[in-house]
Assembly symmetry: C2
């Protein structure tokens, strides 16, 4: 069932009991009396992925000396929100394969995928309102708003080949990094106080979330579906112009630019990402994007200097590094 790569499993070893409790909370939360619902949530359980965001709540808690009995629940809530965005993303992206399990909207229809995502959001918020502190509800409701705004802005920027890198990054920050940042801030702060260390850990999460998204965008345009384990090439299909392409486009002559636009937009064209790779080298753009991700990872790692040395801090350092190495 677990889709956790061996290296990541080693990194999160130090919070293994907390992760087990988090999974236990998750299992109980997605269980539902309705047979129709439990049939779906059982299916969803199988594409839960790495549970990296939940692990970050626990690891940051540990690394900052702020572990409470409620941290596994906070981690489960973060994972449920992530799961809800994945389910709704499958509608958005038209992705055909996610983590090698048929998507919800392939097995059922779009209607049900919308409702299942809504159900997961509602469960997450409901659980958060049962916690002793309101910090989790407050931070995650606000984060969910950011996630949506990021996705909507991204949708509005489709086929925008001249989007400035700052705009690209602000969209990635909203749609992806905000949940990493919230996970880390909650780990450091929940149930309250510790604002300064919370800000620092939020910045750590923000930087690795942004790096994660940039690497993800590189894999989508250049990756191999068998290795990555989910659909690749969907960004080009969906008109999303990501950093490696923005970089390539900015340095292309007018003829090549027209060709790139054609590959993105010509109706009925098959395997657009592959055609794009065969038409122009994306190597420089991908290198540029990885350099940017590397710089973000180093920024993130520098934030860890303030923490006491230990296994949890080492794990956070390793997870930041892992963001760049992953080929999944």
């Amino acid at each position: 069932m677990s889709r956790t790569p061996p290296e990541l499993a080693r990194l999160v070893e130090t919070v293994r009991p907390g992760l087990a409790r988090m999974r236990d909370v998750l299992r109980r939360q997605v269980a539902e009396g309705s047979a129709a619902v439990s049939d779906m949530t059982e299916h969803v359980g199988r594409f839960q992925g790495k549970q990296l965001r939940g692990a970050l709540v626990l690891l940051v808690g540990e690394a900052t000396g702020n572990t409470t009995d409620e941290h596994p629940s906070v981690a489960a809530i973060v994972e449920m929100i992530h799961l809800a965005t994945l389910v709704h993303d499958d509608i958005l992206d038209g992705a055909k394969v996610r983590r090698r399990v048929a998507c919800v909207n392939e097995r059922w229809d779009n209607q049900v995928a919308v409702l299942l995502g809504d159900f997961l959001y509602a469960r997450a918020f409901s659980l958060s309102t049962d916690l002793s502190s309101r910090l989790c509800s407050k931070l995650l409701a606000e984060t969910t708003r950011k996630l949506c705004v990021g996705e909507i802005d991204q949708s509005a920027r489709r086929y925008d080949f001249e989007m400035p890198q700052e705009i690209y990054e602000s969209i990635c920050a909203a749609k992806t990094a905000s949940l990493y940042a919230a996970a880390c801030e909650l780990g450091a702060r929940y149930p309250g106080g510790n604002e300064e260390v919370g800000r620092a850990m939020g910045a750590f999460g923000h930087a690795i979330g942004l790096a994660f998204q940039i690497v993800d965008d590189c894999l989508d345009v250049a990756g191999d579906e068998d290795v990555v384990g989910k659909s690749v090439g969907t960004d080009v299909e969906d008109g999303k112009v990501t950093l490696p392409v923005l970089y390539t486009y900015a340095r292309a002559d007018e003829q090549l630019r027209a060709e790139i636009r054609r590959i993105y937009t010509q109706p009925g064209l098959a395997k657009r990402a592959r055609v794009l790779r065969e038409t122009c080298s994306l190597d420089a753009g991908i290198e540029y994007a990885y350099d940017r991700a590397r710089a973000l990872v180093e920024q993130a790692q520098a934030r860890l200097d303030r923490l006491a040395p230990g296994a949890a801090r080492d794990a956070l350092y390793g997870i930041a590094e892992f963001t760049l190495q992953r080929n999944w």
Copy 2:
């Protein structure tokens, strides 16, 4: 802009200042820095409908002597959740016209409708976490879960012509009445305490919500689009077997049953609801359903006896009555 029928406007007159504040909160909450988002939320503002659920928060507060400064915000949160369900329903139902304004998913695409609904949910939860009491967050997160489960169960029961009336009603209770019940319970209880009167007012909301849904289902199968002001016949299109049809089917001979099933399922058949009406009389089924709705309204009205006489109580009595009379 207002779609409030004149009679309803008269009924809610007693909470007019609160409604104005509720609309003000709504306007500010759906405003968003992102141009892409505000373009959409502005559009959504135009199909807000009757705002009956928000008005119930205020009226029940008034009628139970429990009006606080935060009631208009609670009402706005209830309305935002309702608005989110409408936006996601438009994906679900494939409805072509809602309140005579093009649906979000007609002007934009399904992707964006999903995100806009998510954004509205997130805003609602975010605002609720800013209130002084957690009661609103708790009750509405739980209610949102019920709404989703009801919709999922309904989807699983499509084309179930032998569904017992209790199951039909339990689905209506979850997908519709739960938000009416929560609105009324919050009106009576927010920020806390008053559990007994809260339960009674919750039961009032539950009963009128259920009546509302039954009448809505009758209008969908028998109504005139020009009068109702939104798509009709979509339930038959979507395979939803509602009370008037369940009643008719249960009393039909095998030949007519086969005919009803054919009308629901034959690929490509146009105007299924009209064909259904022309094939068999739904009159007895509709009368039966209205009788049930009438009984629910009387149950609801009986709950009001415990309240002090006054304009707010009269308005609640009238709204319950209005549930049956509406032809919109």
